[in-house]
């Protein structure tokens, strides 16, 4: 038997809410199969199981409270020999590691300071009554979220016992006065809080160093124009794909920048999973991974990027994409910024930034010519590497971009 726990989908995640089970008790689960959807402060994430077996018992019904990371959600009867399977990268022991790596985590934003701690996770022995689903109208569910009303405590008076808007608002009015009348944890605010926690931790714990270099993009763009002329419009590549590929390949040359800072030391990763910073339309950002970005063809990388952006904005990322990035790449070029000196996403070791590709005067053999150039930057964790390593990395990026046909 293995407990299926509330996963830690990123260093800034302290709690999650179960949105949906995609498997029923008794159903077979393959390793790596998505079995549940979990809401984090940032997104709804499809969560995969890292053991193969049978879903034995569901402990937490969808739509309930926010639960701390590590709360058992279900019991899986693992197949013989299958229990060894562990999630990749630092997600391996998320629950246990959390208190160590995240000291003085701020309280969840919907609980006022000094207020009683959030309700304990549902005891494993008390699944929702018979697994019966209580009907809740869409607006009642939405309003309950806004008012912080626990739907499990609301009695439905609508047709068929449905919990209606009126039931939720009545429950909110009748709540004991001692309960925090905290304003609802609006989704956007929760994302802001999560980013605030991660970025404050980064700047508190990680001694950043910053490097920047300007790279001649004329060869890369000329090669791209030739290559794109042979491709159907829908498959044409953007310059950003070359930048991501070059940044990923350069990590092979300087592996000390690729990985995590865990338990007081750097742990390099054998695989290169590029976290791509994606701004969300409603505000905020996520940085999910493109797995093995250094090994993908440009066409495959382009397709993955498009897919990742679409799914990030639609809120359907996979748990492995949230936990696996071994480094992050960000670009604000499309917003006209020429250089970005980013904040490292803990526990990663580095962040690579690209600005806008702009035409600038450029000296070649003693003559000034106009060339398209881009500013590449590196934010490095000085505990793990020194500026020398970082300089080698940016040099590798610049060199790779001079041989675009090899990317």
């Amino acid at each position: 038997m293995t407990d299926f726990l509330m996963p830690k989908l990123g260093a800034d995640m302290t709690r999650g809410r179960l949105v949906e089970w995609l498997k029923k008790p008794g159903e077979r689960i393959a390793r790596g199969e998505v079995i549940a959807v979990v809401e984090t402060d940032k997104a709804n994430v499809d969560v995969e199981s890292w053991v193969a077996g049978t879903l034995e018992k569901i402990l937490v019904e969808p739509g309930g409270d926010w639960l701390p990371v590590g709360t058992p959600l279900a019991v899986i009867a693992a197949e013989a020999g299958a229990e060894a399977g562990a999630p990749p990268a630092f997600a391996a022991a998320p629950a246990a590691a959390a208190p160590v790596t995240v000291p003085r985590q701020p309280p969840p934003p919907d609980v006022a300071p000094g207020a009683p701690p959030p309700r304990a996770p549902l005891p494993a022995a008390a699944p929702a009554a018979g697994g019966e689903r209580v009907p809740v109208s869409p607006i009642a569910r939405k309003r309950a979220g806004e008012l912080g009303v626990d739907l499990a405590s609301v009695r439905g008076t609508g047709p068929g016992g449905r919990i209606t808007l009126e039931d939720v608002e009545r429950a909110a009015r009748e709540r004991p006065a001692a309960a925090p009348a905290a304003p609802a944890a609006d989704k956007r605010q929760r994302m802001r809080d999560a980013i605030a926690a991660a970025m404050a931790r980064s700047k508190r714990e990680i001694p950043h160093y910053y490097l920047g270099t300007t790279i001649d993009m004329s060869r890369a763009l000329a090669w791209l124009a030739t290559a794109n002329a042979k491709l159907p419009v829908t498959e044409r590549l953007l310059a950003g794909v070359l930048l991501v590929k070059a940044a990923a390949l350069a990590l092979r040359e300087v592996p000390e920048l690729n990985g995590f800072w865990i338990d007081g030391r750097a742990q390099a990763s054998a695989s290169i999973h590029a976290g791509i910073a994606i701004s969300l339309r409603g505000g905020g950002l996520v940085a999910p991974a493109i797995h093995d970005a250094d090994k993908l063809t440009l066409a495959a990388l382009s397709q993955r990027l498009t897919d990742l952006v679409a799914r990030a904005r639609a809120g359907s990322l996979k748990s492995s994409e949230m936990t696996d990035p071994t480094g992050t790449i960000t670009s604000l070029g499309e917003r006209g910024v020429e250089a970005v000196y980013g904040v490292i996403y803990p526990p990663q070791l580095a962040l690579v930034g690209f600005g806008k590709i702009v035409e600038r005067p450029w000296a070649v053999d003693g003559t000034v010519v106009v060339r398209p150039v881009v500013t590449a930057t590196l934010s490095g964790d000085h505990r793990a590497t020194d500026g020398h390593r970082g300089a080698l990395y940016l040099d590798a990026v610049a060199r790779l971009l001079q041989e675009p046909e090899k990317l």
């Binding site: 869409p138 607006i139 609508g158 047709p159 209606t164 009126e166």
Partner: protein, 322 residues
């Protein structure tokens, strides 16, 4: 001020339009000597003569096609089809020609054609004269579909149709012709806007055309029980003013859609789908609908009443959401 009937309001619009614009003419079965099957054009032959009030053979496809030709040739024809059931004979002309020519000619041609027809049941005219197909027309891009439900709209929306550069289908519910009203507009109204016919906060009743009087009666009955229903008259089915519906649902969180089509594939189904697509998180109950029973319209009065939506069913449906 004297009361005006819906029938007289349509006639007044026809008369004013023909006086104002020599390109406007009316044609259809029995519109001249007989004065129209529903007496809408009574007296117009005397005033405008047989060139402009034209009786046609019993060939809907033929005279609707002639109307398209006249519109292409610079006229502003109004084609009257006796009932929506008979209009099925001319669907090809309307859907394949009138609705497409602007697009297929790359914008070189337009078809400023107005097609009026009576629709709906409630008059013991049996299955070949009593059906409701407005949703079929509303399905087709390239035409506008108007369903006036009040005396004022009967005139104002017809005048508006005559200002449109593209085909407009006007469905006049046959039970509305004797309806009386006070004011009729002198100017064209605007096509594409729904109207709140009665404000309310507890449930939204969405309807159009011949179901509006029944829906207002249902709202009266609900009010006696303390339930304030907001009644929305769609007035135009294409383009559909869904924003007015959504604004009401955002207030009441409940909706019943009423129409006289058969329930399966009714226009109500489209309205419900759009509410659920665009206002799911506002709903406090599933959207309900009241439509006709799925039978050819019976002739016998009591059976016809049982087949059509009635105020009592609307009341029951609304209370089922509360």
């Amino acid at each position: 001020m004297a009361k005006t009937t819906y029938r007289e309001a349509v006639r007044a619009a026809l008369r004013e339009a023909m006086r104002a614009d020599p390109r406007v003419f009316l044609m259809g079965e029995d519109v001249g000597r007989y004065g129209g099957a529903f007496a809408v054009s009574l007296g117009l032959l005397d005033e405008f003569g047989p060139e402009r009030i034209r009786d046609t053979p019993l060939s809907e496809s033929g005279f609707l096609g002639a109307g398209i030709g006249a519109a292409l040739g610079g006229m502003r024809p109004i084609v009257e089809i006796m009932t929506v059931n008979f209009s099925l004979l001319s669907l090809d002309q309307l859907v394949n020609n009138a609705a497409t020519l602007r697009h297929m000619s790359g914008g070189q041609f337009s078809v400023p054609l107005v097609v009026r027809m009576a629709s709906g049941g409630g008059r013991s005219l049996a299955a070949q004269h009593s059906h409701s197909f407005e949703g079929w027309y509303a399905h087709v891009p390239g035409i506008k579909v108007v369903t006036p439900a009040t005396v004022a709209d009967a005139k104002g929306l017809l005048l508006a149709a005559l200002t449109e550069p593209d085909p407009v289908v006007i469905l006049e519910h046959a039970t509305l012709y004797p309806l009386e009203g006070d004011d009729t507009p002198d100017e064209p109204m605007q096509i594409g806007l729904a109207a709140v016919r009665r404000p309310g906060q507890h449930v939204t009743l969405v309807t159009y055309g011949g179901s509006l009087p029944k829906t207002l009666a249902a709202a009266d009955a609900l009010a006696k029980e303390g339930i304030e229903a907001e009644v929305i008259d769609l007035r135009t089915l294409r383009p559909l003013d869904i924003d007015t519906v959504l604004a009401s649902v955002a207030k009441t969180h409940r909706a019943v859609v009423v129409d006289e089509m058969w329930k399966t594939g009714s226009f109500a189904a489209e309205v419900m789908a759009q509410i659920m697509e665009r206002a799911f998180d506002e709903l406090d109950a599933p959207v309900a609908r009241v439509c006709s029973r799925e039978v050819p319209m019976p002739y016998a009065k009591h059976l016809e009443e049982a087949a059509l939506p009635q105020a009592g069913q609307i009341v029951t449906a609304a209370k089922g959401l509360l």
